[in-house]
C-alpha cells in the first residue's frame, strides 16, 4: 500500500523529498497508480456508505409505518378490551377478565372438568312480592340487591356465572383456579347474608319492601368453559352438581346458608353450624346431608349476625288452612290450623292437629284473608305445634298480622 512504503512516507513529510521522488518517471507512474487505486477504493466506500444508509432509511421507513399500525391496533384493542370489561366485568372481577384476555386459550370454545364450589342464592317469595309492585320497582329492587351481592362475590373472588331473575349462580375456583374455593364460597355466602341488612335499609329508603335470601353451596366436579357458538359464547358451568346446588338452596329459609357434605368436609373444623340434616331431593338417588352454617373460622373468618326476635302472641289466634306442597305442585289435601304467634323474622307458630315433617313446604290461607296465598317452611315441629318460616309473605298478610292486637 502507498502509505506503507517508507519512500512515500518521507515524501509526504518533506516537500523537497517529494519533488525529488516525483522527478523519477518510474516512481511517478507508481504513485499515480496508487492514487487511482485509493480513489477507486474511496469511491467504493462512499457508495457502500450511501447504499447502506439507503437500506437503513428504507427499513426505518417501514418501521415508522409499522409503529403507526401498532398504535392504531393498540387503540382498537383498548376499545375492545374496555367493551369486554364493561359487558363481562359486570359479572366477574377485573382479575378474571384480565386473566382471560391474557390467555389465548381463554377465548377458545371448549371445556374441561374441574372441581369447583358452586353458590346459588335466591330470594324468598320474590314472585309473591312482585305481584303488588310496578315493573320499575321490581327492576329497582333487583338492581340494588344484585349490585350489593355482586360486590360481595367480587370481594371473595367468586365469578358470577348468571343472574337468573332474582337468583345468582356464582362459582369459585374458575376461571382462575383457587385452592381454597370451598372456604371462599361459604364465607362469601355468610357475607352475602350479612349484607342483606344494608340492602334492606337501602330498599326501605326508597320505600321498597324488604327481601329475604337463601343460599346453597356445594363442591363438586363440573364442566367449565366457553359454552355456545363462536358468535355468542359465555364462560359457564354445567353438570349435575349445579342442579344439586339448586336443590340444596331450595331447602333454605330466608337468612340461611345451607351447604353440602362435600363443601363441609373441605372446611373441616373451621366450619360452624347449627347442625346437619338429611334430605332426599328429587332426581337424587341417595339421601344427602346438608349443614346449616352459622360461621367460618380461619383465614376467611366470618359469622352470621344472630338476631333474636321476640314472639308476638296474638290475642286471638287466627284460623287458617294449609296444604303440604310437593315441589311446586299445589295439589295436596287441606288441613286446618291456628296461627298463634309471629315475629319480625317472618316466623309464625301454628297449632296443628297432626305433627308436620320438618322442612315441609306449606301453602297457607288465613280465614281472614281468603284468596291470599302465603308460603312457609316448617323450621321446628312438635306434637300439636309447628314453627314455620314464611318464604312468601304477601303484604296484605303482613299488614293484617301487624294490625292484630297482641296478648297483653
Amino acid at each position: 500500500m502507498l502509505t506503507d512504503d517508507p519512500r512515500w512516507q518521507r515524501a509526504l513529510a518533506d516537500p523537497d523529498a517529494a519533488a525529488e521522488l516525483l522527478a523519477d518517471p518510474g516512481a511517478r507512474a507508481e504513485f499515480m497508480a496508487a492514487v487511482a487505486a485509493l480513489q477507486a477504493e474511496h469511491d467504493d466506500l462512499v457508495l457502500l456508505h450511501d447504499s447502506t444508509l439507503e437500506h437503513a432509511n428504507e427499513i426505518e421507513e417501514q418501521l415508522a409505518v409499522k409503529i403507526e399500525q401498532v398504535e392504531a391496533l393498540v387503540v382498537e384493542l383498548e376499545l375492545r378490551n374496555t367493551f369486554i370489561r364493561q359487558v363481562f366485568g359486570r359479572h366477574v372481577t377485573d382479575e378474571v377478565v384480565n386473566t382471560l384476555l391474557a390467555s389465548p386459550e381463554g377465548r377458545q370454545l371448549g371445556g374441561e372438568r374441574r372441581t369447583l364450589t358452586i353458590l346459588i342464592s335466591d330470594l324468598r317469595g320474590f314472585s309473591t312480592l312482585c305481584e303488588g309492585l310496578g315493573p320499575e320497582q321490581v327492576v329497582a329492587i333487583l338492581n340494588i340487591y344484585l349490585g350489593a351481592m355482586a360486590d360481595v362475590i367480587g370481594e371473595y373472588r367468586g365469578s358470577i356465572n348468571e343472574f337468573i331473575g332474582d337468583a345468582i349462580l356464582a362459582v369459585f375456583g374458575a376461571p382462575v383456579p383457587q385452592d381454597d374455593h370451598p372456604e371462599r364460597a361459604v364465607a362469601c355466602a355468610i357475607a352475602m347474608q350479612r349484607a342483606m341488612g344494608r340492602v334492606n335499609a337501602e330498599l326501605a329508603e326508597h320505600g321498597l319492601p324488604a327481601l329475604e335470601m337463601g343460599i346453597g353451596v356445594h363442591t363438586g366436579e363440573v364442566v367449565v368453559g366457553n359454552i355456545g357458538s363462536n358468535r355468542r359464547a359465555k364462560y359457564g358451568v354445567v353438570g349435575r352438581h349445579v342442579n344439586l346446588t339448586s336443590r340444596i338452596e331450595s331447602y333454605t329459609v330466608g337468612g340461611q346458608v345451607l351447604i353440602s357434605e362435600s363443601a363441609a368436609r373441605a372446611l373441616g373444623d373451621r366450619l360452624r353450624t347449627r347442625g346437619c340434616f338429611e334430605v332426599r331431593p328429587k332426581g337424587v338417588r341417595e339421601p344427602i346431608t346438608i349443614h346449616d352454617v352459622t360461621g367460618v373460622d380461619g383465614p376467611f373468618a366470618i359469622h352470621m349476625i344472630e338476631e333474636a326476635a321476640e314472639w308476638r302472641v296474638l290475642a286471638e289466634p287466627q284460623p287458617l288452612v294449609f296444604t303440604a306442597l310437593e315441589g311446586k305442585d299445589t295439589g295436596g289435601q287441606e288441613f286446618p290450623a291456628l296461627l298463634v304467634a309471629h315475629d319480625e323474622r317472618h316466623n309464625a307458630e301454628l297449632r296443628v292437629a297432626a305433627s308436620l315433617p320438618l322442612r315441609a313446604d306449606l301453602k297457607l290461607v288465613l280465614a281472614a284473608l281468603p284468596g291470599v296465598d302465603a308460603y312457609a317452611k316448617v323450621v321446628a315441629a312438635g306434637p300439636g305445634r309447628a314453627v314455620v318460616r314464611f318464604t312468601a309473605l304477601p303484604r296484605a298478610l303482613q299488614e293484617l298480622l301487624d294490625s292484630l292486637p297482641a296478648r297483653a
Binding site: D44, L47, L48, S51, T52, L53, E54, H55, A56, E58, I59, Q62
Partner: protein
C-alpha cells in the same frame, strides 16, 4: 425478542441461528437466505466466509433471498462488500433471486449492480 447473541449452529455450509438460516445448496450452487437476519457486523463473519469460500470454488453462484424477510444494515453492508470483492475477482456469474413482496428487497437488491455491474437481479 429474538436473542441475536446466540451463537449460530450447524455446519460451515448450513448456518442456523434464532430466526434465520443461511445454507449452501451445492448441486444447485445456490446460497439460501431465510428468516430474519439482524446480526451485528462481527456476527456476519461465518456468512461472509461461506460466501467467499463458495465463490472461490466456482464463479457461478445463485443467492436466493425470497425467504429472507428482514436484513439489517450490517447484513446489506456485508452483501455489498461481497459484491465489491466479486467485482475485484472478475469473471463471476452471480444471480440474485429476490421478492418484490418484501419491501426492502425491491430497493436494496438492485443497488448490488452499482458494486458489481455483471450481477443479475431477478425479483419475483
Amino acid at each position: 425478542m429474538t436473542d441475536t447473541t446466540t451463537r449460530p449452529s450447524g455446519s460451515d455450509t448450513d448456518i442456523k441461528g434464532p430466526g434465520y438460516r443461511v445454507w449452501f445448496d451445492a448441486p444447485a450452487r445456490t446460497v439460501h437466505f431465510e428468516g430474519v437476519l439482524r446480526l451485528s457486523t462481527s456476527e456476519y463473519k461465518p456468512i461472509e466466509d461461506l460466501l467467499d469460500r463458495v465463490l472461490l470454488e466456482s464463479p457461478a453462484l445463485g443467492l436466493r433471498m425470497t425467504e429472507l424477510q428482514f436484513l439489517n444494515s450490517s447484513g446489506i453492508n456485508m452483501l455489498y462488500k461481497f459484491a465489491i470483492a466479486a467485482r475485484k475477482k472478475g469473471e463471476t456469474e452471480i444471480k440474485v433471486h429476490g421478492s418484490s413482496n418484501i419491501p426492502w428487497q425491491g430497493k436494496s437488491l438492485p443497488n448490488l449492480k452499482k458494486f458489481l455491474p455483471t450481477i443479475v437481479i431477478a425479483l419475483d
